[in-house]
């Protein structure tokens, strides 16, 4: 088979990057000893709109940092008017890394992992020492499949399935040896499954792209027979070029979180429906790098029982493509 010169150079480029990819993947898979996520204060969702499948041998790395703050208890759809709460507030600082590799033109393998620099619960009662957890969150390995890709009509429908895995099965402990409060733990310490579905349509003349991303997560039990509830989230994105290399993105996301279970017993103060509006700006550098900033504003909350709820969250992300990945790059450049 004849290989054209640009094609050969492209293959060489990919081969040169392969050791880097393998190294990052090895780090993601081998951090077994590192202490290991999350409850009503919200899960650290990523900060990238790059969610489709890649071309064969293409590599993409997405890194992001997120800060989240929670300080208002809700009962149903309204703030609680109780005089005493368990915590005054809770917050976390989280860094995530996602690496994607195009196995073929249809299949893309994705590996995600992240680290909580802190995950703090400030108890209201001054007799209690605040809990501060840090360590690896759960990792995810996902295989995405391009169900329908039309590069002319700029339509993509892709689905993915994968596993969530903990870096340790042992729940994180406080300095006194007892278990950390659930909201302060960096990991669920349990295996799980995840599935995604993406519907994307681009309007190139308008430099506009819309997509709907749905994600389902099932969490297994940890060693103490505690199971974090199922999560179903759906995000609607509208992305529009507003200046050269600058994009504005509006996201409306809803999260439906099922109730947690302990020893077969449903936990009352768990489970919620949350709707978040996220404005985002994204700047493309040389068609390979992409810098984004986003801010999460909760617009509707419905929490079962009484729970501490997220107030705001912001994230910054940096994306690097190691090849000309998908048709969506056409409007980026």
């Amino acid at each position: 088979m004849l290989i054209t010169r640009p094609r050969r150079m492209y293959m060489l480029l990919v081969l040169n990057r392969l050791p880097l990819f393998i190294f990052v993947a090895a780090v993601l898979f081998s951090a077994g000893d590192i202490k290991a996520q999350c409850c009503s204060t919200g899960s650290p969702v990523g900060a990238s709109t790059y969610v489709g499948v890649l071309n064969k041998n293409a590599v993409r790395a997405i890194s992001f940092y997120r800060h989240s703050f929670s300080d208002i208890y809700y009962k149903g759809t309204n703030p609680s008017d109780d005089a005493v709460d368990m915590s005054d507030n809770a917050f976390y600082d989280f860094a995530g890394l996602s690496v994607e590799y195009g196995l073929s033109h249809r299949f893309t393998l994705q590996a995600d992992a992240g680290y909580f620099f802190n995950k703090v619960v400030n108890f209201h009662n001054p007799q209690l020492t605040d809990h501060n957890g840090r360590g690896m969150s759960n990792g995810t390995v996902l295989l995405k499949y391009g169900i329908y890709i039309d590069p002319v009509k700029l339509i993509e429908i892709s689905g993915g399935a994968g596993i969530k895995y903990p870096f340790t099965r042992q729940p994180a402990t406080a300095p006194n040896g007892s278990l950390l409060h659930l909201d302060a733990r960096p990991s669920t310490n349990a295996f799980g499954f995840t599935g995604t579905l993406l519907l994307s349509k681009e309007f190139a003349p308008l430099t506009l792209r819309t997509f709907l991303l749905s994600r389902f997560e099932y969490n297994g039990f940890n060693i103490n027979d505690y199971q974090t509830g199922k999560l179903f989230s759906s995000s609607l994105f509208v992305s529009k070029k507003i200046a050269k290399r600058l994009f504005g993105i509006a996201q409306l996301r809803n999260e439906l979180h099922g109730k947690d279970i302990q020893d077969g017993e449903v936990q009352n103060n768990t489970g919620y429906f949350l709707m978040v509006f996220t404005p985002q700006i994204s700047y493309s550098i040389a068609g390979l790098w992409n810098l984004s900033f986003l801010y999460d504003v909760p617009v509707f909350k419905n929490y079962q029982g009484k729970q501490l709820t997220p107030q705001y969250s912001y994230a910054i992300s940096l994306t690097r493509d190691f090849s000309n990945c998908t048709f969506k790059r056409k409007i980026t450049d």
Binding site: N176, G177, S178, Q262, D263, Q267
Partner: protein, 122 residues
């Protein structure tokens, strides 16, 4: 070409799913109530066995032995302990009756444990 890639990718998926299924849903056996010759667990007392949510109650262990290490556990992951050693404070943000366990061990790895129950009213 594309069929080839598809077939190549399937074993990876199967391996990942096998790892997930074999590692998940495992439960550790509950620690049995134990007593050895080296450690004598005399008593485990809770100051108030009925508390309101976020209220603290003192739990005290009396144990005979040397170089003892105390490990405090609740059968609900939401239980919070303050302090360490033979006397701790306990609270929880959920209603229900919860088992509080104190496990004690010494340098020779002799172990003993006792349970008490605390009811939390919402």
């Amino acid at each position: 070409m594309e069929k080839h890639s598809l077939i190549k990718s399937f074993p990876i998926l199967i391996i990942l799913l096998t790892i997930a299924i074999s590692g998940g849903c495992k439960k550790e056996d509950d620690a049995p109530q134990t007593q050895t010759d080296k450690i004598e667990f005399v008593s485990l007392v809770v100051e108030k066995d009925n508390i309101e949510i976020t209220e603290l109650t003192k739990v005290s262990a009396t144990v005979k032995g040397n170089n003892l290490t105390y490990i405090w556990k609740c059968d609900n992951e939401l239980g919070v302990f303050e302090g360490s050693g033979a006397e701790v404070l306990f609270t929880i943000c959920h209603g229900g009756t919860f088992k509080v366990t104190c496990e004690v061990k010494d340098n020779a790895n002799n172990k003993a444990s006792k349970d008490v129950y605390v009811t939390c009213v919402e």
